[in-house]
Subunit: 421 residues, 2 copies
């Protein structure tokens, strides 16, 4: 099969296939301004249209497909044979390797179409916020691919202590400001109150939105929203084609959950096609949103600037502990995934940092790939499933999404090695 045949022509939208209607986003009662109206002003129009579409399949623009090919899509679907041997399991284990893209994670899959739709509108500048830098890196690259300028507000504590992500964004031509910054009214206000404020994702997002609004730029969003999950479906659609080419079908599909976009991107096409019988979302035991979260309307962002959505949440003001899998510290779960968890279509597991460190080490030694600490959560679940399959003598096929590599997380592993070895 040619690469361009593996790459889908349409993204898949699970909204029309949900077991019941998705509760719509809404503005908070008595709000002083409309968040939904705000989205209209800052997001590329086509992105916003896709955010609210109920079409099952949304065409991927040819130009976006070309860029997907340029960044190395389709990513490989690999069999983890040596992990199987190590576990001495009758289960087959496959993984989709999103770390094979140049920015090292799945984030680029939505950054490219969002940048494209901004470019198509004639806008020449995109803006976003980033915590550890994974999303900002994807935006900087996607912007450079369309000749757009990019401005990224990076949480100051990361800007100062995780400079490598900043360097890669700058190599891609991105303008990176530590947030709070003096580039926005909001940033200046924070700084005047406390010049040594080290920032937060909420502050950075507020700055990015203000900056986009003031200059007429477009704001790009990295996770949680339906449109992001839609774009990420390229992962699962490719995997379906790849499984079909080798005559296999997965029984169990596994992914880690930060906001939910890599998990949804990988599993939703299989759920929609009724392939597989179990779908397992994996989170951090230190950020227990599956076991302790409530299903209710909440803000998807800590700044409270986006419309409220109904989701599983620990509360927008929840302060997560400082775990190494920074991408899993998010307080909520994407609305469609929350609904599927409520309705038991999707199962969940939570693992501690010590457990996922051990799983990461086993995976590195057997498969040679250092996984992102976030992805190591999925690996831990897969190891447990494969051991259960051995106990039950089940010849099942397990597939998981390796959402990113860990080459930019080696300082984290160094610390974990000291802590857990």
């Amino acid at each position: 099969m040619e690469l361009s045949e593996v790459l889908p022509k349409y993204w898949y939208n699970i909204v029309p296939d949900l077991p019941r209607p998705l509760p719509p986003p809404r503005d908070p009662k008595g709000a002083e301004f409309s968040r939904i109206e705000l989205l209209n002003k800052i997001m590329p129009k086509e992105v916003l249209r896709q955010q609210f579409t109920t079409e099952r399949f949304v065409k991927i623009p040819e130009d976006v497909r070309d860029r997907y090919l340029q960044i190395g899509r389709p990513t490989p679907l690999m069999r983890a044979k040596r992990l199987e041997e190590y576990l001495d399991t009758p289960a087959k284990i496959y993984f989709k390797f999103e770390g094979a893209t140049p920015t090292g994670s799945h984030k680029i899959n939505t950054a490219i179409p969002q940048a494209y739709f901004a470019y198509e509108e004639g806008v020449d500048h995109v803006v976003t916020e980033t915590g550890a830098g994974q999303w900002g890196t994807a935006v900087a690259l996607a912007a450079s691919m369309y000749g757009l300028r990019s401005t990224i507000f990076m949480v100051k504590v990361s800007y100062e202590h995780k400079p490598m992500r900043r360097v890669i964004m700058q190599l891609y031509g991105g303008q990176v400001y530590p947030s709070p910054s003096d580039k926005t009214n909001f940033g200046r206000k924070i700084l005047s109150e406390n010049p040594s404020n080290t920032g937060s994702l909420g502050i950075a997002m507020s700055e990015a939105i203000e900056y986009a609004l003031e200059h007429g730029y477009r704001y790009l969003v990295g996770s949680v929203l339906d449109v992001v999950l839609l774009h990420q479906s390229v992962i699962g659609l490719e995997a379906m084609n790849q499984f079909s080419a080798i005559g296999e079908e997965p029984d169990v599909l596994v992914g880690c959950v930060g906001g939910g976009s890599n998990f949804a991107g990988f599993t939703y096409p299989f759920i929609g096609a009724k392939i597989g019988s179990r779908y397992i979302a994996v989170g951090s035991a230190e950020v227990p949103k599956f076991s302790k979260g409530e299903y209710r309307y909440d803000f998807p962002d800590t700044a409270g600037l986006l419309p409220m959505v109904k989701m599983l949440t620990l509360g927008k003001d929840y302060v997560p502990p400082s775990i190494y899998a920074g991408g899993l510290r998010y307080h909520g779960v994407a609305p469609t995934l929350s609904l599927l968890l409520e309705d038991k279509v999707v199962e969940w597991r939570e693992y501690s940092e010590r457990e996922i460190f051990e799983a990461a080490k086993i995976f590195a030694e057997t498969q040679g790939i250092v996984p992102a600490p976030e992805s190591a959560h999925a690996i831990k679940a897969v190891i447990d499933l494969a051991r259960e399959a051995k106990k039950n003598k089940e010849r099942i096929t397990i597939a998981f999404n390796l959402s990113g590599h860990g080459l930019l997380d080696l300082t984290n592993y160094q610390d974990m090695m000291v802590r857990y070895s």
Copy 2:
């Protein structure tokens, strides 16, 4: 074409196809011990046999082919379309991306067969030295793939200041010692003379060889020797299959040169098959071995423990400046490549650090991949060639080997950004 069809069944050895016989390795006159005899004691027997073979094609063991597939070989051959557009050149530019393997460079291509041949002999432990860590990482992974233990002597200054490479070796299960260490007589002697000695590649190699000898382990070698170049030919052989599948043929082939193994691995199969008309080796202007080196017998290693070979060399005691492309600081050029340079079959170019930094930035912005600083030398040559093609209105096809990605070199880029921006 199936992946396993792209992957060759034989490695290619250029020795029988050289324009004249390769001057043989030899012991220094009046040596107190035979270096050739030493190789017999520490290298896996089949590796040594391959080092001295004059067969044109050497069979790749099926098991090694399987491992090649497991680490993601064949690596992609990609067209650098956006770089072409940026340069507005009539030339087509292709690159082979060796950074797609899990250790991020081509080094794994020879680590796997060397570990395999050690394993086949019934040895359960391999030893090597490493400077910045690229080679040690490949050995640690290859060893783990065969269930072997690995011990890596890492130059102390790198061990202390470049801890990320140490962490990745440890994640692969490698035992890493800072060298000079207290694990060998040689290391203890050095330390007793100067406890704060920060080490050198020569010291680390001496320790690795002593350690292998004393314990009956096998020593693995990372570059320069003919057998390493033989194993690296998998790069060029795959590329030939990939070019053939798309109905293209490169006119000019380009690679950077540290010891010469990635350049040779990429270009030799094309030279042997008489495909292409120009082969361009690229070095660092700060380590001017092409322009200032002499073609004479010299030690390939700074410790003087290996047999002397006839090669282009700045002298084994040459002290290179501290450039960011650590892999290009080597004092010599592999014997076969030296001969091909002498006989003008291969051309050379040398570029300054400032020039290659600019090239790396252009490549990152256009193609989205941060190249290793070593590989950025090849990119700079390609950019110049494409500009010359524009001037001369030549519709040529240029191909280069992107020997590694730069995600573990971001601190280097950060420093270069400050220095050259």
